[in-house]
Amino acid sequence: MDNTIDPEVGRAPLVLGGESFHSVTETVCAPVEWKETPKAWWAVLFLSSLLLGVLGVSIGYLFWEGVGIWGLSQPVSWAWDITNFVFWVGIGHAGTLISAILFLFRQKWRTSVNRFAEAMTIFAVMCAGIYPAIHVGRVWLLYWVFPLPNQMDAWPNFRSPLLWDVFAVSTYLTVSALFWYVGLVPDLATLRDRAKGKIQKIAYGIASLGWRGSNRHWQHYEKAYLILAGLSTPLVLSVHTIVSFDFAVSQLPGWHTTIFPPYFVAGAIFSGFAMVINLMIIARWLFKLENLVTMRHFENMAKVILLTGSIVGYAYAMEFFVAWYSNNPYELFAFVNRMTGPYWWAYWSMVVCNVVIPQLFWFKKVRTSLFWLFVISVFVNIGMWFERFVIIVTSLHRDFLPSSWMYFRPTIWDISTFLGTWGVFFFMFCLFVRFLPMVAISEVKGVMPEASPHHDDKEGAHA
């Protein structure tokens, strides 16, 4: 059934295939209750464990030898480490957008994808958090970033955007994890009540805190959920704003621009939605979620990508315009150098992937084809990685003194660390799809027409 078009009266259904409350439970719980774990799952787990090992070795060697093992030097003293940090944090933003902002906007289609997207947020922020922690050089002094009383009587510098970042990202991870867990509690209770084995009964029993679907509980629960959505909305906007302050508050041409906060937030949502589409297409197919995650969901996400991709394209153009209009030769040089300098290939890859290719989403045929959704989303992710690389490296590599100009090249350790964080990401995802319900069961039931207490009323039915 095509539910991408609303009927003349009312709304198209969000859940297809004539699912009942019970069949939704069955569909979502199936992967958690598999008798035999499929070989594909073991294969992905094995590969991601390998990458996890690669990360371990890379970080171990980094701690032993120092950040010199990366391709860093002067003036490019910050490259893949911070590129990958911004890349991963950005991916996380789609999860919060879906779980919080779409909740406040009463976009009920979010219920099928929010659990999955929030999981992605948490794992992506975990990957992101690795980079600032390991790139500080003397990693054993990392605790200096926290306002802890210490024997030196020294305190952090609260005027530094890098310190704001510490607070923003750690708050973001904490609040996202809490929000996710609150959403999980009723579904963990579902798993508890269905569990056959003793270990499952005990584990899900403890994790679900004794939830018993009480309406006196639901009342506070729904209020807490609404408040968390209301808190996460400004939080997610603030996180990438503060990430962009890492650059915008400095005085480097190419970084010192006021457009950065909105432009970074749009870019983050852009890349995050692309990642949700990539992962969701695979999961939907593997775990047979076609009735819950429908073409309507994908089409809506493609529209968000189209919008945010266009905002990003506008920002690229406006940055360049302002560089010219400012009449500041350094600023203009930074931008001309981006387009035509030694990193021209990175700049134009970014423009093609982020600005040109997503425009295909204007066509409904493309928006509703899983193949094109997947391919374009991969391009968006590549493009957004390049965006961060371009902003960071091209602004640094030719500084004010031409004698110090350099061409940054990543070393094997830059690459292995980046691959390693993909290992973290997929490893966590494997555990997530096997042991937790990847669709919010109670929320999906709540948006089904028969969930309304006025479902069968002849008059005033508002299913």
Binding site: F167, V175, G205, I206, G213, H220, Y221, L228
Partner: protein
């Protein structure tokens, strides 16, 4: 307990098939004047708070208090550090350069508010509570799947096993059982 062997009745548990049946039954139980009772459903049923006659949640007030603690505490933590604990002149700015303190103040406000919302909610719900008498009922396991229940406690002054049973069956319960505690 004087006689530890004797099982004490927790109350009655009535099962309903649809959210609508639950909603209508809740209105009846509410109007009959019961106080120690509850409705149970796999998802929050729209409007059930009203049908049960519940007062609005006090959770927003808990969150508001936490937000003030986070915001004021976060701001003055930075002021105290910059003025008294570790004063440093950075970029020729005054010690209390408040615009620079906004991001951390904001983040701490959000963080503490979120703690208030989550832990306040669990506290108001008295969770975790891993055991509850209702878990003794086998049918109750489907409350997290597709069935709807009303439980009325024997401690309620209105409670009388027969009278309450009658009320529940008139309200449309498809199955009624006595639950021991």
């Amino acid at each position: 307990m004087s006689q530890p062997d004797e099982k004490k009745a927790f109350g009655l548990l009535a099962e309903f098939e649809t959210p609508k049946a639950l909603y209508l039954a809740c209105e009846k139980v509410r109007d009959a004047g019961y106080k120690k009772w509850d409705a149970h459903s796999p998802f929050p049923v729209h409007g059930l708070d009203k049908a049960m006659g519940l007062k609005p949640s006090v959770l927003p007030w808990i969150v508001a208090v936490m937000a003030v603690i986070g915001g004021v505490g976060g701001f003055f933590l930075q002021v105290w550090i910059n003025v008294s604990a570790y004063p440093q002149v950075i970029s020729a700015k005054p010690y209390v350069s408040w615009p620079a303190f906004v991001p951390v103040t904001f983040e701490l406000t959000v963080l503490l508010s979120a703690f208030g919302a989550v832990f306040g909610m669990f506290g108001l719900n008295k969770l975790p509570q891993l055991y509850h008498s209702l878990f003794e009922s086998d049918r109750f396991a489907r409350v997290t799947d597709d069935k709807f229940f009303i439980s009325i406690e024997a401690d309620d002054p209105q409670f009388g096993t027969q009278a309450t049973k009658e009320l529940l069956s008139q309200a449309g319960a498809v199955h009624i059982e006595e639950v021991q505690s």
